[in-house]
């Protein structure tokens, strides 16, 4: 069977990809997806752990994460739309009204 370390590595890689996406991509939507990717990488590791530890807590947390992520998505997109109304762009590097 697959050893735990693989899952961990997988989740680590996914998390890193997520981080990279968050930092590198210029499209807000994709940036947001990267965040989701990070969350899911965490979910993987959580599930893996909970399986290997034979404890439910991990999976419970996963459910919560998924739920929260959904809420987050809703709010995030709402904010994004509100933003888009006033200045129609989703390019990360065009959003620097506030700085310094």
């Amino acid at each position: 069977m697959v050893p735990l370390s693989w899952y961990i590595i997988l989740s680590a890689v996914m998390f890193s990809i997520g981080v990279f996406g968050f930092l590198a991509r210029r499209n807000l939507i994709i940036v947001f997806m990267s965040v989701e990717l990070m969350l899911n990488s965490v979910n993987i590791s959580l599930v893996a752990f909970s399986h290997y530890l034979q404890s439910m807590r991990g999976q419970i947390l996963v459910f919560f994460v998924i739920t929260v992520a959904a809420a987050e998505a809703a709010i995030g997109l709402a904010i994004l739309i509100a933003f888009y109304r006033n200045n129609p762009t989703i390019k990360v590097d065009e959003i620097n009204l506030l700085k310094g």
């Binding site: 968050f22 930092l23 990360v92 959003i95 620097n96 009204l97």
Partner: protein
Amino acid sequence: MKYTLIPLLPLLSFIINILFGRNFIKDKAHWIAVPAVAGSFILAVSAFMDVLAGNVINLNIYNWIVSGDFQVSIGFLIDQLTAIMLIVVTSISTLIFIYSIGYMHGDGGYYRFFAYLSLFVFSMLMLVMANNFLLLYFGWEAVGLCSYFLIGFWFHKKSAADAGKKAFIVNRFGDFGFGLGVILVFLTFGSLDYAQVFGNAGSVVGQTINILGTDYDLITVICLLLFCGAVGKSAQMPLHVWLPDAMEGPTPVSALIHAATMVTAGVFMVARCNPLFNLSHTAMNTVAVVGGVTAIFAATIGLVQNDIKRVIAYSTVSQLGYMFLALGVGAYSAGIFHLYTHAYFKALLFLGSGSVIHALHDEQNMQKMGGLKKYMPVTYAVFIIATLSITGIPGLAGFFSKDEILYRAYLGGDTGKFLWLLGTAAALMTSFYSWRLIFMTFHGKFRGTHEQEHHLHESPKVITVPLMFLAVGAIFAGYAGIPPLLMEHGDRIGEFLSPVLGHPHGEGTHAEEMMVMASSVLVALAGWFIAHKMYVKNPELPRKVAEMFKPFYNLLFNKYYVDELYGKTIVQPVLKISDKVILGFFDAKIIEGIVNGVPNLIGAFSRKFRQVQTGLLSNYGLAMALGALAIIGYMIFMR
């Protein structure tokens, strides 16, 4: 109480005059001042009588400063020395006060003048009556203060203002040493009280003090420090520069402060400390040499000056030199004796010149005088008397005291002989410039403007009467100390002072004494002869002589360029450094630079680093990620 009143009366007069003079008393000021000082004269006489009766008064009034083991009181010591000084100070003051009524008549600051003068008398009396060093120092500084006020009395004249300031600051140089001396005295003797200090004087012989690694004889150091004060106050070299300028003050001031009393404070102080000085050969010699050199040095300058008061001023410096010479060779009584006689004839000279200046409406240049004798006979007469007296013509006051000094010097070993030569040479010059003064002023024909000539007149009684009184003094004051040679036990003043000042050591033969006496008389006559030749017989001669020794003449005429020297080496550099270097560079650039630099630097940082905050989401995320990474790296690295 009686003794306390002596200084208190003048102080009272000062307070009243200064507070109410301006609005109420105005030109009635002398109605307060003269009685006050006269009163203290009477009290002084009675004090003198008490001392004569043989009881020395030493009373402490109250503790002035108490700090730990340091204790000093305000108290009076009236012994023979003080008694003499009291008489000199109060008597001359009284006369000069009266004189001033006429001389200062109509001056805007009439009340101020009498106020300051009274304050001076108070201070001077405190100085001579003090029974400890600190109170002496008090009087010392206070008379300096008054001299500052009175020199700068006509303060709207820049020269007067400068002179006043100069006098005070130059004196500060001396007092700097004096003050340290006082401190050292306490640290050595654990007291500042004359009685205790002089009592234990012997106990510290041989002790040394370590200054910057080298050991010096303690007593010598103390004496020299104290002597610094004397040098400043009595205008000895090298601090003599302030006295000639002090002539900016009204003439009565010059007479009272810068001839008769204040400038002799140094002499008084050294005489007062004779128990200390006696213990240090070095100090004594220093005093003697400084005195001798100053005597001749000032006399040479006096030869060529044209300002009538400056001539007398230099003569004063020179005479003070004599006094120190006397002190230096251990003839304290002689020194005090000369102080006492000098007070009269020098005051007389000043007041006389004052009367002249008054007559010529503040003309002081002798080149513009001449032939005054027919206009102001009284002044002329007293001038002659004073000059005879100062030049040491037998029978007048100056003769006795000066002769005593020269004789004592002569007996004082090799240095003594040398000093005697200096003294005699100085005597020659003294006689010369004194007569030169007379001839230029009173003989020949008048060289001033016509309207001056038109107003020429003898001064009023209120001026001439004090002159006459002083003239009497200038003649007879000397009979207090007739040399034994001429009269057994003639030296009454010496005897009188001996309890305080002891007897001068060294005895000479009659022959020697004769020789000294004769020589001094001889040079006096020689001085008259030369002066007469140059200024009466053929008035062209002076210029010729001046031409002949041009550089030397200029050197003398410019007072050896001492003022210029000080200006170049001390005054300017200090001012320049403090302006350009300290204030301009160090304070403004370095210190301020640091104080303002640090904040500016931080501000610059701030402006620079705020650009890190680009406002871009990804950069913010990057910062976080890098931060996390950095911490992880740091932790791994740590282990």
